[in-house]
């Protein structure tokens, strides 16, 4: 039992240790920034995985919550106060408050209709960001979002490595909370809806409420990612709410392996690192990205997490022989 537990926790601790010492090993600001972005999109992808991988809800509008939180945090930071707790709370709250009605309206539909509704709602959010110029900066975007001030600890988040550590902390906390949620009775209810929604109703579940809970929790964590992104980028543009952003995070979830939480984080890593490498060499980044996605869908449907899982199982089997 203890050795089993150690075997499960060991690689996790090693990964955390590697992430913590990374800025010392690689003092390159560029790589620290890339990894920071991976962690932010990792939170975003995990939140969508709660919908796609656990609840079976293929939302194609998840950027709405990411974007609304980013704009809200950015507006609060540029107009009122750059206090971290304030911008964070405002952004995450805005995402949750948006997820409640959008979720309530979308989850009555299933399958392709659900997908189209979430897409339509998120494009309405995009249109608002694009047109509401006095508030959002319109097509020019919202520039000059400051790195937040964490007064109590006296931390200067303007420094690349400090911001990296702050993001890492938020990422680990999100992972732990999401992991606990999927292991909870509610998380099992999500999976039940994914497996057989009509049977869930027949054993007494209000599946509408189960799906709404998943939708709002996913929206809150997408909001957290959006707030961190607004600090990180210092600039928010309508394209962060556009359907391509929803598509990008969906690709991360599918390439990484839906229903595993950590898989989508690896998916975010692969997509963003590939993007950074490829786009520095050629303009044909979307082509490479598309080919990668097709490759995964064709030969590795369970994503990176699936490849890891199969390799581990193979290694264990050959070790026994």
């Amino acid at each position: 039992m203890t050795s089993d537990r150690r075997r499960r926790i060991g690689p996790g601790l090693a990964t955390i240790a590697a992430l913590v010492i990374f800025p010392f090993v690689s003092p390159s600001i560029y790589f620290q920034n890339v990894l920071t972005e991976v962690l932010i999109f990792g939170i975003f992808a995990m939140s969508l995985d709660l919908l796609i991988g656990y609840t079976g809800l293929f939302s194609f509008g998840h950027a709405a919550f990411f974007g609304v939180a980013a704009y809200t945090a950015g507006i609060v930071a540029t107009r009122f106060s750059d206090n971290m707790l304030l911008t964070l709370a405002a952004g995450v709250l805005a995402a949750g408050l948006l997820a409640l009605p959008l979720g309530a309206l979308s989850i009555r539909s299933v399958g392709i209709y659900f997908l189209m509704l979430t897409l339509a709602f998120s494009q309405m959010v995009y249109a608002a960001a694009y047109k509401w110029t006095w508030l959002t900066g319109g097509p020019n975007g919202l520039a000059g979002v400051p790195r937040p001030v964490l007064g109590i600890l006296g931390l200067d988040l303007a420094s690349v490595s400090t911001f990296y550590y702050a993001t890492l902390t938020f990422f680990l906390a999100s992972y732990v909370v999401l992991r606990r949620i999927v292991a909870s009775p509610l998380g099992h209810s999500f999976v039940g809806v994914r497996e057989n929604e009509s049977r869930m109703r027949a054993i007494g579940y209000n599946t509408w409420l189960v799906k709404l809970a998943a939708f709002v929790i996913a929206g809150l964590f997408a909001g957290l990612a959006g707030v961190l992104f607004s600090y990180f980028n210092g600039f928010i543009s309508p394209s962060d709410v556009y359907w391509t952003t929803s598509g990008l995070v969906m690709v991360m979830v599918i390439i990484g392996g839906a229903g595993t939480l950590l898989g989508p984080v690896l998916g975010a890593g692969l997509v963003l690192i590939l993007q950074n490498i490829v786009s520095s060499q050629t303009d044909r980044w979307p082509l490479i990205m598309g080919a990668t996605f097709i490759l995964f869908v064709l030969v590795a449907r369970r994503g990176i997490a699936g490849i890891f899982h199969d390799t581990l199982a193979l290694a264990r089997r050959s070790a026994r022989v």
Binding site: R180, I181, A183, S184, P185, L186, G187, H188, S189, V191, G192, E195, N196, S198, R199, M200, R201, A202, I203, G204, Y205, N206, T207, L209, V210, A213
Partner: protein
Amino acid sequence: MDELLRVENIHRRFGGLRVLNGVNLSVAEGERLAIIGPNGAGKTTLFNIIGGELAPGLGRIILGGEDVTRRPAHERVSRGLARTFQTNNLFLGLSVFENVRLAVQRRQGAAFRVLQPASALTEVSSETAGLLARLGLQERHLALARDLSYGEQRQLEVALALAGRPRLLLLDEPTAGMSPAETASMVELIRSFPRDVTLLIIEHDMDVVFAIADRIAVLHYGEVLADGRPDEVRNDPNVLAVYLGTSSAFNVQRSTLISNIQG
């Protein structure tokens, strides 16, 4: 005895096809009523309307004195209804234990808890284990539902319904497709249910019907053709005329009837 379920003048059509045409039934608490009838008589449609999966075109469903006609399926479950399906309707990708656990956590009111892991709910786990033992599925608790034999899947189907601790249990052809041995153990299981669980059972196997039912209703073209004690229904001339030629149990009845008439 108190009335637990009243089906009042239920009509339902699918396009131009009138499937149910004014069905009336009253089921007392603790009663075991079998609904029989040829294929297409509307039996499963009636179950879907009682269970809340389908809305009737006309008529009312009264459960425990309350009109639940407009209530969704899950609210009827919380009022004591549970059902099994004619074709297995399980969580195929989940383990046997997890299938039943989902039903148990809902009944114990824990479905929305998020602050503790599901594995920490010892009452849910022990009730689940108890149900699996009662159904003879404890050896298979780690198997995925899709890897069970057909007969085991039928048992799991019943376990999911029992996990809701129903007052009214609807069983839609519980022995369909089972081997004689599996059928016998299913009949044994159903007979072992506490007497206060009211049963509504759709069944084609007349041996099963006579082993379980205190009362039989015959559905024919969306109407109740006969409704009474097994021996009454067995000898009802209308029933004999339209339906019972198909079953061996009734063939004997019919031939004796015919010989009585002729004699």
